[in-house]
Symmetry: C2
Subunit: 163 residues, 2 copies
Amino acid sequence: MESFDPQAEPVALSAEQSRFIEQIGVYYENFGIPRIGGRMFGLFLVTTNPLSAEELAQTLKASRSSISTNVRGLVANGWVEKVTIAGDRTEYFRLAPAAWEQVMERRRQSLTPLRNMAEQILETLPKDHPAYGQLEHMATWVTFLAQHYTDLLEVWKAQHPRR
Amino acid sequence: MESFDPQAEPVALSAEQSRFIEQIGVYYENFGIPRIGGRMFGLFLVTTNPLSAEELAQTLKASRSSISTNVRGLVANGWVEKVTIAGDRTEYFRLAPAAWEQVMERRRQSLTPLRNMAEQILETLPKDHPAYGQLEHMATWVTFLAQHYTDLLEVWKAQHPRR
DNA sequence: TAGTTGTTTCTGTAAATACTGAAATGATCG
DNA sequence: CGATCATTTCAGTATTTACAGAAACAACTA
């Protein structure tokens, strides 16, 4: 009963912040993330208060349904986290503290199918097949990369321990 | 005059190779690469002979125009390279020897705009702005990542010197 | 239980993208 | 300079995808 939240106002943004949000939006759009999703991420980067879906919708001038689907993606990828407040049934969202590590972790995991494909095809080929060498090379690369991603994350986490 | 190349035949592929090509196609489709482009890449992975556009078209059952546009992308990204033969006006293509390194290198370069965005917005914010810390964190992460990509590539190249 | 509010799902539409076949361009050869 | 052949560009079509608004659903509250 305490939050009477008359109409959920949009977040006040400076011109620079708005520009940043749009830039982040198009940047991630190039990586296949829907524009609204990218903008949301940008918004979370330049603000710290957890935001409700309604605030997101108003601030980004997008529909509630788009916010709903896009926020789900961001949460699923570990970029954003849901925050709740006792006695308030609205859900709020904010940048996940480990967002960047998560991006990396996801990327590492996406290497697994690639490695599997390489290994599977290698099993079917005779060792003297002309392409054997380059497929082996591919498998080696993917393994190398996955290992280094793991190492890299460990170094980062050591340098930036979770408070 | 010497190559009379009656009709450019499709590459003969085993069932496993065909399956591999399709798998690679859908894998890279998830990363925003057109299906035909991904299939071409897969084809180059399981073959070694340079292939003409006509052979690619026939083998992958795609139009010449699609091959043209997609091969351009693969070459631009350094995944595939063009090969020519004296006295033959057809162009051939094959997997670039440094394809995997190139993937990494591209990724590293794509971090630059992200770093720029972070640094630019930081310049406009007072140090006590609530989001200052997390934007600094972002900039640190991107820098860290770019540096480690560079290192990683160096290690790889040392281990796999170009013959 | 009825009413209120927050969230998701559904349905349709607009926009973007991939792809093809045909036309245009370019390059080489007689 | 034609003629031939390889490649690219163009124009149209089909498919996919993002998005919005409305309906459905869920969770709480009086």
